[in-house]
């Protein structure tokens, strides 16, 4: 895995950072969309190395963070049912609902299992015909092809005791919501390379044109991120709008077409509520009518869900890039990874979790 060292090479990264320093002449506000990029930036301290003129605001690219509380509460209710085996990716286990999390449901006797692929959940369904297996299908476009495939696969095999609880959201509507907001300060977008690896970036030129911004497809290693930021800054300094690809080893304009076809076969665009932001029309995916039987939301009646959001949590403002985690009065006090008030403090892609995990609040206090 040599790419690990090559794309983290200190000299190469520092070289790109120096080029950014030479290029920048005035303040710019950039947003990195993807929570995974936020974590990479904070973990490697890339924002510490950038010139002061560049401000990075963190975007809503954390699918766990934007999943509505009602849906998390529904997941918790399903996990508590004795006839259900509830499956999900690992970091959902710690996300708090209105009352506890999946870990707590498991400790109380619920059958909650971590899977690494939704196809494993289908296998569990085949192995447990007397139970209902539900998979928590969360994600942006990156995880959608595999989740779609699990449903198509189950249907093809005639596996009836499998269903998915869908929380899929899409990037372009999020870009619309961010850039169209009256409070928006973002001037350039660092786009989520792994989403683009699936979807390509053919959807972006229209966005760049409409909002008069540069959008640069960017990867996740320190060198990739530095390069993505450099390209964005170069475009800003030159007054160029449009789309550039700074992650060509993984992303093409058209993207992964079989993956897109898989998504289109099983999913269709629907309105989705983004936690902390509100309903964004046609911003997510739901199951097509011919796969509706695999929708856990309609298969199970979990009764009325009464949600209980923490009044202290400002995750919505953080997801829109209006505030940073350490601006929150509850950050690192009432709200910690052990007692999270919102999803941004728990998810591996949440900005608050990134700041807390890498001690950014401590570094900001005792500036090195």
């Amino acid at each position: 895995m040599k790419y690990l060292t090559e794309y983290r090479d200190a000299q190469l990264v520092q070289g790109v950072i120096q080029e950014i320093q030479r290029t920048v002449t005035r303040p710019w506000v950039l947003m990195e969309l993807c929570g995974g990029q936020t974590h990479a930036i904070v973990r490697h301290g890339i924002d510490q190395l950038l010139p002061r003129e560049i401000e990075l605001v963190h975007g809503p690219g954390c699918p766990v963070c934007v999943t509505p509380l009602e849906l998390i509460d529904k997941a918790l209710a399903l996990a508590a049912r004795p006839d259900v085996i509830f499956t999900s990716y690992g970091d959902m286990l710690r996300v708090p609902g209105s009352d506890g999390d999946l870990f707590a449901r498991r400790a109380a006797g619920g059958d909650v299992r971590v899977v690494y692929s939704p196809l494993d959940a289908v296998k569990i369904a085949q192995q447990n015909p007397a139970k209902q297996v539900v998979f928590f299908a969360i994600g942006f476009e990156t995880t959608a092809p595999a989740n779609a495939m699990s449903v198509a696969h189950a249907k093809a095999l005639g596996v009836k005791n499998f269903s998915i609880l869908v929380s899929h959201v899409c990037v372009p509507p999020a870009i619309h919501a961010i850039l169209a907001a009256p409070s928006n300060r973002v001037q350039g977008l660092v786009a989520a390379g792994h989403v683009n690896a699936v979807m390509g970036y053919w959807e972006y030129p229209a966005l760049a044109e409409k909002y008069r911004v540069p959008i640069v497809v960017t990867g996740f290693e320190p060198l990739d991120i530095a390069q993505g930021i450099l390209t964005t800054v170069q475009m800003l300094e030159q007054g160029r709008i449009g789309v550039a690809n700074a992650y060509p080893r993984a992303v093409t304009r058209q993207g992964n077409q079989p993956a897109q076809a898989m998504i289109q076969q099983v999913f269709m665009p629907v309105d989705r509520k983004w936690r902390g932001i509100g309903v964004i029309p046609q911003s997510g995916w739901g199951l097509r009518p011919e796969f509706a039987e695999y929708d856990a939301e309609t298969r199970f009646d979990v009764g009325a869900i009464k949600t209980n959001e923490s009044p202290l949590c400002i995750a919505g403002e953080i997801l829109q890039g209006l505030k940073k985690p350490h601006h929150c009065p509850a950050f690192a006090k009432q709200c910690t990874p052990e007692h999270p008030l919102g999803a941004t403090m728990v998810s591996n892609e949440g900005a608050c979790a990134a700041y807390y995990k890498y001690g950014r609040h401590m570094l900001l206090e005792n500036a090195p």
């Binding site: 990264v13 301290g45 286990l93 710690r94 870990f103 692929s117 320190p222 990874p337 591996n348």
Partner: protein
Amino acid sequence: MSESVTMQGLACPLPLAHTEKIVLGHGSGGKLSHDLIKTYFLPAFDNPALRAGNDAGIVALDASRLAISADSHVVAPLFFPGGDIGKLAVCGTVNDLAMMGATPLYLTAGFILEEGLDMALLARVAESMRDAAREAQVQIVAGDTKVVQRGKADGLYISTAGVGVLRDGVNIHGANAQPGDAVILSGTLGDHGIAVLSARGDLGFDADVVSDIAPLNELVAALLETGAALHVLRDPTRGGVATTLNEIAQQSNVGIVLREDALPIRPAVAAACEMLGFDPLYIANEGKLLAVVASQDAERVLRVLRAHKYGADAALIGIVQAEPRGRVLLKTSIGSARVVDVLMGELLPRIC
């Protein structure tokens, strides 16, 4: 039977009841229990104290200070590349004593067996413990066996206690780290944790990684021989190097600064961690030690470690500072810094 049967006191050598699996009767204290001990544990752990067959083992100790440690082992699966629960039980206990600078001498081993466990598996565990005890030059002088119903134990659990002696003048303590001290790690990070995950099938792929379980008492004895000022020794087991260094930083009320590019790690472990979103600093090690030593002794300590088979990849990974008190920082390879906190909850792999 045509040959005469020799009766030795109350031990009547009738043939063992023909079971290949552990049954509840093996824990009842009666014939089956005795036969189990005679067949599997006595031959493997063979020593006078144990052979006496009393309620407690009697040993003679010549020391004014003793180190005593306790541990429980619940690892699953029971066998994995590079080790097993038995080897882990012996080495883990030996290492806890060794980290105090004590010479480990005697262990106890309590077994909780699950009804239905294969006897052959138990035999392998006992043999593995025998081999580990031999290498570490310790004796298992007392033990216990209980059997629980099917489903109440993951095959088997082992609980141990260990006793070692401390020479006069040995003072190794988590509160002894001083600003200026060197922080040394005796070898590569994360091998054990990744090997176990791989054996469990949890990774979704096979990692070419072998657990590093090893008894470190000989290594520690070599370090003590050098006369180097060893301030702290600790083995970074569950929670990894990050958690262990945080403990030391807090106990000593100092700061510790690590260098990311100085951390020794096998490419296969690094790759497995990258794929799953794990940080190797948090993954368990079972054959490594962290040594916080006076800076002038760092070179000497490294030399002695690297000359030993269990310290070949030893590296200087950081230094102790006065500030920030109780915290561990990491200097990244690209020149930035971040805080390394203790492990929160369980290590969970990421979504995308």
